[in-house]
């Protein structure tokens, strides 16, 4: 499994467990909107960011904590991956 897939899987697991108990995991597709659709509210977004920063040791800038960077599971994982590779590079 690539890093990208691993991060995506972990992020989805966190989202399901924390914010979507009893949701069918298949409904949480990689590209489903979560922030612009109100699935994650502002408090959930803050908790998600805290989780990402702690789990991956990355730091998100204020402008990144928005639907522009974190709307879908794929975008969330992509933002984290970008941070990690920036650091590795």
């Amino acid at each position: 499994m690539s890093d990208a897939e691993r991060i995506l899987g972990e992020v989805k697991g966190f989202l399901l467990e924390q914010f979507l108990p009893e949701e069918d995991p298949a409904a949480l597709t990689n590209d489903i909107a979560l922030v612009t659709s109100g699935v994650l509210d502002s408090v959930a977004l803050v908790k998600l960011v805290a989780h990402l920063e702690e789990t991956y040791g990355v730091e998100l800038e204020a402008y990144e904590i928005s639907a522009d960077f974190l709307d879908t599971p794929a975008m969330i994982a992509g933002t984290v991956e970008g941070k990690l590779s920036e650091r590795a590079g």
């Binding site: 069918d24 409904a27 979560l34 109100g38 509210d41 502002s42 977004l45 204020a62 904590i65 928005s66």
Partner: protein, 509 residues
């Protein structure tokens, strides 16, 4: 002489033309008092060119910025009342407000205009674009559906709040009721032109009345926390410290988020000297944590529905006993209002007994827009002809005279400081094509309340929570979207075949 809210600006602009009047939290945009007065004046003149003026209502639908503050003040200078429309809510809701309030014109951020036009049957013909300065984001002045001009006491603003029948209702305030509150603040808190006031609440939320006008009265600086930063505790905390905010006002929820995620230990808080909170109960455990992080300021719990501005207040003691668990009182009735605690027959209860809080006095609204029956039933008129606003809040008077909040009489709850009528959420859920039955309850939890929606679907099965929330986001403001969805083949009924809310509450986890 201060006769209207707009006089607060002209007076301070005459006295302190070069002091900062309004800025963004990041410090990127800033207007002095003379610049703000000039910008407001150009809005006023543009409105006058199109025949909009005294007795009219004008909607403002734009993100928070110095330009939108200038728009509000320009509307007031024109003698009209402003009607803030939540720029983040579904366009259909904004279109409803514009239609319901019969606004003569609307001042709309250019990128929100198409959505509003598409959501209703509103034409919103363009009158002219407006810019505070060349290169600024475009704001459009457009013609509204129009309506009758008001003739009584000049209205200042109409704030729409959640309505139990499924539609928001407009709370109407005059310049007099707003100024009564603003003057009470000046008498109660020790404020000056040196103060920097946070503006955290959006303009359609009544906390904004303090932020804007108390600051303008004193010649202070309004520091705008816009739609983005106001939800980001780390950036918010940094801005409060770096911009030297001295007066902070928000809901307890926002303060809690900052305690938990704001890294408050990293900053110098010496400028901060007054923290006000309102809109919901502040759980003592979280308030204690806040006082530990910010030990210096004075803290006040302010209480009052949108209909009354602030009508009671309580100063939180500097030290909170370690064993205290009960929330602090809502306090004493403000000096410019009077309060009464009554039973279901509107008879005053004995001190210490529970009853509904009624409020009369300078800060109370004139009524709901275009809802004469709702307005009449919102007040109890006593034998002397005094109109008492029924808050719907149950309170009890403690031995020391402070009022304690006990609960609600109806199905309105406070979630993160916002009023939420559970019935309005149910109305939205019933618009979902697969929903046969819907019932929404509020369950107390450590974050305040959690909103749970029980739904039965045409297929009798489980739906997707993501799909339900996405649907709700097109019908309701984000703060009204239920936290949880529970799918049931059918909902429990009482013997009279109504949905049995008690049974649902017992079954909620």
């Amino acid at each position: 002489m201060i006769a209207g809210l707009d006089d607060l600006l002209s007076r301070s602009a005459a006295r302190w033309p070069d002091r900062a009047a309004v800025s963004t939290a990041d410090g990127g945009e800033r207007l002095t008092y003379s610049e703000l007065e000039r910008a407001a004046g150009s809005i006023r003149d543009a409105l006058a060119r199109h025949g909009v003026g005294p007795g009219d209502r004008i909607a403002v639908c734009a993100p928070k910025s110095p330009a939108s503050v200038a728009a509000i003040l320009g509307i007031l200078q024109a003698g009209a009342a402003y009607v803030p429309v939540d720029p983040t809510a579904p366009a259909a809701r904004g279109a409803f407000v514009i239609e319901d309030c019969g606004v003569a014109a609307a001042i709309v951020a250019a990128d929100l205009l198409a959505g509003l036009r598409g959501a209703g049957e509103l034409e919103l013909t363009g009158l002219e674009p407006w810019r505070k300065a060349p290169g600024d984001r475009a704001i459009e002045i457009v013609r509204g559906p129009g309506g009758e001009k008001t003739r009584d006491a000049p209205l200042a603003y109409v704030l729409y709040t959640s309505g139990s029948t499924g539609r928001p209702k407009g709370v109407v305030h005059t310049h007099d009721s707003a100024l009564s509150f603003v003057r009470w603040c000046a008498d109660t808190f020790d404020l000056s032109e040196e103060d920097r006031f946070s503006s955290h609440a959006p303009f359609h939320f009544d906390l904004s009345i303090f932020d804007l006008y108390v600051s303008l009265l004193h010649g202070g600086e309004i520091v705008l926390f816009g739609e983005g930063i106001s939800k980001q505790p780390t950036a918010m905390a940094a801005a409060i410290a770096e911009r030297g905010i001295s007066v902070w006002y928000s809901t307890p929820s926002v303060l809690r988020l900052m305690v938990e995620f704001g890294q408050l230990e990293s900053y110098d808080w010496s400028a901060l000297r007054l923290v006000l909170f309102a809109g919901e109960v502040f759980p003592v455990k979280h308030l204690r944590a806040l006082l530990e992080a910010w030990p210096a300021p004075r803290y006040f719990n302010l209480y009052g529905p949108t209909e009354t501005n602030v009508c009671t207040y309580f100063e939180v003691p500097a030290e909170i006993p370690a064993d205290r668990e009960d929330p602090f009182p809502i306090g004493l009735v403000c000096e410019n209002d009077r309060g009464l605690v009554v039973d279901e027959g509107d008879r005053p209860v004995a001190s210490g007994e529970e009853g509904e809080l009624l409020i009369t006095g300078g800060t109370v609204m004139s009524g709901y827009w275009n809802l004469p029956e709702r307005s009449a039933s919102a007040f109890h008129v006593d034998r002397d002809g005094t109109r008492w606003y029924r808050t719907g809040d149950l309170v009890r008077e403690a031995a020391d005279g402070n009022l304690l909040f006990v609960g609600r009489r109806d199905r309105m709850v406070k979630r993160r400081g916002y009023r939420v009528e559970l019935g309005e959420i149910e109305s939205a859920l019933y618009r979902h094509p697969e929903v046969i039955e819907a019932a929404v309850i509020a369950v107390p939890d450590e974050d305040g309340v959690r909103i749970e929606a029980f739904v039965s679907r045409t297929d009798g099965g489980k739906g997707s929570i993501i799909e339900m929330k996405t649907f709700c986001s097109k019908e309701l403001p984000l703060y009204m979207i239920p936290d949880r969805f529970l799918f049931r083949p059918s909902l429990p009924k009482t013997s009279t075949d109504k949905i049995d809310y008690q049974a649902l509450a017992r079954g909620a986890s």
